[in-house]
């Protein structure tokens, strides 16, 4: 995942430093008013689809959705608690965004705003004890200890603000552009379910919520593959 992001970032930097004339020559001038297109998204919020409509030369809107299923093992440890961890993340949203090109002199730049409805924005951490434990004089096996499931969810509507690079619509049939921005999420809520000897860990929910209360920015760094339909 890191390597594609680096490539994308490098490409963004190129778009910033390349002179406007060269860009226009490469991508060509387009007429956006009344245009309709579709795009496939790939980036930090996963894979998605959008439909786009151009209202004016400078303004277009797009509606779509993305989904990001991801998982990883042993991304963190709990000091003194011998365990393995498994993280599963699911971010599904539908969004409505407006793209505005602020200046005719900057046709490669778009100011993007809008909002998304997060119908699933969830990170689940499973903590599975490994080995044996000793509490005072008790010897406790991993099976006796139980398991821990930490579910962190963001819900509701999240506003979005960002910038787009390169034209919203391809001059011909296809082009590529980029988005860099962020959603501002509602504060996450955690649900912690433990089994057996770990079943009291629901008491950690306020602490987890506090630790994650600043986790409200969902950065978006994505590449869009655009197809002009009309």
């Amino acid at each position: 995942m890191k390597k594609p992001l680096l490539i994308l970032f490098a490409f963004l930097l190129l778009t910033i430093f390349i002179p406007r004339g060269a860009m226009a020559q490469y991508f060509g001038d387009v007429s956006n008013q009344g245009a309709f297109g579709g795009q496939v998204l790939l980036g930090s919020q996963g894979l998605g689809l959008e439909g786009r409509y151009g209202f004016t030369e400078m303004l277009s809107a797009r509606f779509g959705g993305t989904f990001l299923p991801a998982s990883a093992n042993n991304v963190f440890t709990v000091n003194g608690f011998n365990s393995t961890t498994n993280v599963n993340a699911k971010f599904y949203n539908v969004h409505l965004l407006a793209d505005y090109t602020p200046s005719e002199n900057l046709p490669w730049l778009r100011i993007v705003g809008g909002a998304a409805y997060l119908y699933k924005a969830q990170g689940v951490v499973n903590v599975n004890p490994a080995g044996n434990y000793k509490v005072a004089n008790y010897n406790i096996s991993a099976a006796e200890m139980g398991t821990l499931n930490i579910d962190v969810s963001w819900k509701g509507v999240a506003p979005y603000l960002g910038v787009g690079f390169l034209q919203a619509f391809p001059s011909q049939l296809f082009n590529v552009n980029f988005d860099l921005g962020t959603y501002y999420l509602n504060a996450p809520q955690s649900t912690i379910i433990g089994t057996k000897l770990l079943s009291d860990n629901y008491k950690l929910e306020p602490q987890v919520n506090s630790n994650l209360k600043s986790y409200r920015w969902l950065p978006v760094l994505q590449v869009n593959f655009n197809f002009k339909i009309n």
């Binding site: 608690f81 004089n137 057996k196 000897l197 009291d200 950690l204 994650l212």
Partner: protein, 559 residues
Amino acid sequence: MKKLFKPVFFLVLFLSLVIYACKKPTEGLNIIIKTDALSKSSTLLEFVNANPNGTAIPAKMSVAITDPQKFVQTDDGATTNFTAYNGLISLSLIRTATASVQHPVTFTTSVAPSGFIPVVNTTTITSDTAAIHTVIPLIEYAHPPSGSSIITKTTPLTSGTSAVTTLSLPATAPAEACTITIAAGTQFKDKNGAVINSTSLASNVIHLGTTSQDAYNAFPGGFNPSNVIGPNGAITGGVTFLTAGLVSINMTAGSTAVKGFSKPLSVNMGINADLINPLTGVKVKVGDAIPVWSMDETTGQWTYEASANVVKNTDGTLAVIFPVTHLSAWSLNWYGPACGSTLSVTVNVPGLTVGVDGYEVALTSANYQYLGGLFTDNSWSHAVTLFNGFKANMPKLPSGLGNVKVVIYSRPGDPTSKVAETDLFSACTKGSVSLSFPTPVLPDIIESHVTLVAKCSSKQVVANPTTWLTLKDVTNPDAIITTYVHMLDGAADIKLTNGHTYTMGANYNSKSFISGSFKIDKTSTIKIPSLTGLSGTAVYDATTKIIAVNTTFTLGTCG
């Protein structure tokens, strides 16, 4: 400058988005381990000096536990090296054990601290969930309880043989003297039956009478023994004793413990003339028969020895004379097995809508000897919470011990705290009784939720211990009130008195954790200082009117 603006702007924007939320999600988190499933049937044994004005129980005292099923552990999981700290040992059953009325778990604990008479206590557990606090008084030779008398005497032996010797214990009450006579030519034997060839005999004898609650409370093993050999063999379910007195004799010839004699000792035990004979319902008199029992002080087993009649001594006092063939506790006890009936007890305290802790509801003899209570594992020390309309059943009633009464005390074991009693009635046929007493003057009580957390040193793990918290109201240093709170997974709801000063403590993992004193009030956050490792805070919530008392200590062995 204009050329620089764009790249710097975008770089700052990008980095701010990615880096902003950088607080570690696990920061400050400690995995919580429950402990309730690791033990069952928590049992707090509290060894106290039978004489409240006697010497304190040793701070650290070895406890021997006889547990044939290997079910017993301390409530921190240890199954060896049982030790009572400051007189307290918290025991429980291991998590694979199951106790029920049909399949009770019975074990004995014995202690023999220096300067005290050895005691064996039998604990019978009939429930997985019960949390029982039992007080076990120890009799100190130097400071015996009221209602008892004691003698320590060394007499010469010739080639291991005694001349006529009389050990006279003074009367603890009118007529309750006790005399032990060693016949001339008596030889003393060790545990193997061999005669001990010594030049001296040291005798320690204590007599418990029937005129003092302190002496009643010190009756070894209590009045509801379960390990009993009756006239016709073992008595299933045990019996209830109604005692006319007990004498415990320990002798040492040289440095060898005496276990038997070539000739029986003769005991002349004075009988309280005001004692009601449960079989006749009137005061005991000459000719009345009283069973003689002996107790194996290593197992707590009582054995029926004989029946002896009440006689009149030359001074006109009543007595029972019986032979002692081996050394142990010997007692004159009427006895009766459980009759199978129960007794419903209703307590009315008009206007008392909140529960008040610390009452004793006891079934007693006409002479106020404890016979039973609301628990199957009977002890006079088991306290209950009373309120208007309180109703409970006495599950075990004795048959054959005549008429009894129900008595309520506001402080267990303290006869001066009696607040209500019934008339005498037949235990097995009565069915129900009702008692009432005026509403006590209540202090300004604050409901409290107490938590106790055992932190694991340098680890992100804590345990919520299932153990006993010692709560001491030290407001009046001359009248410290101690209560024991069972903490289930480190939590319990208790009542504290506004404006009173307390300390807290817990024994866990072979250590005693104690807080300094702190004063309860409703206006500020209270800091609970550490004395030996237990500290915390207390915060009053004006909305819920509950004070949250949160305490912690640190475990060395954890994770």
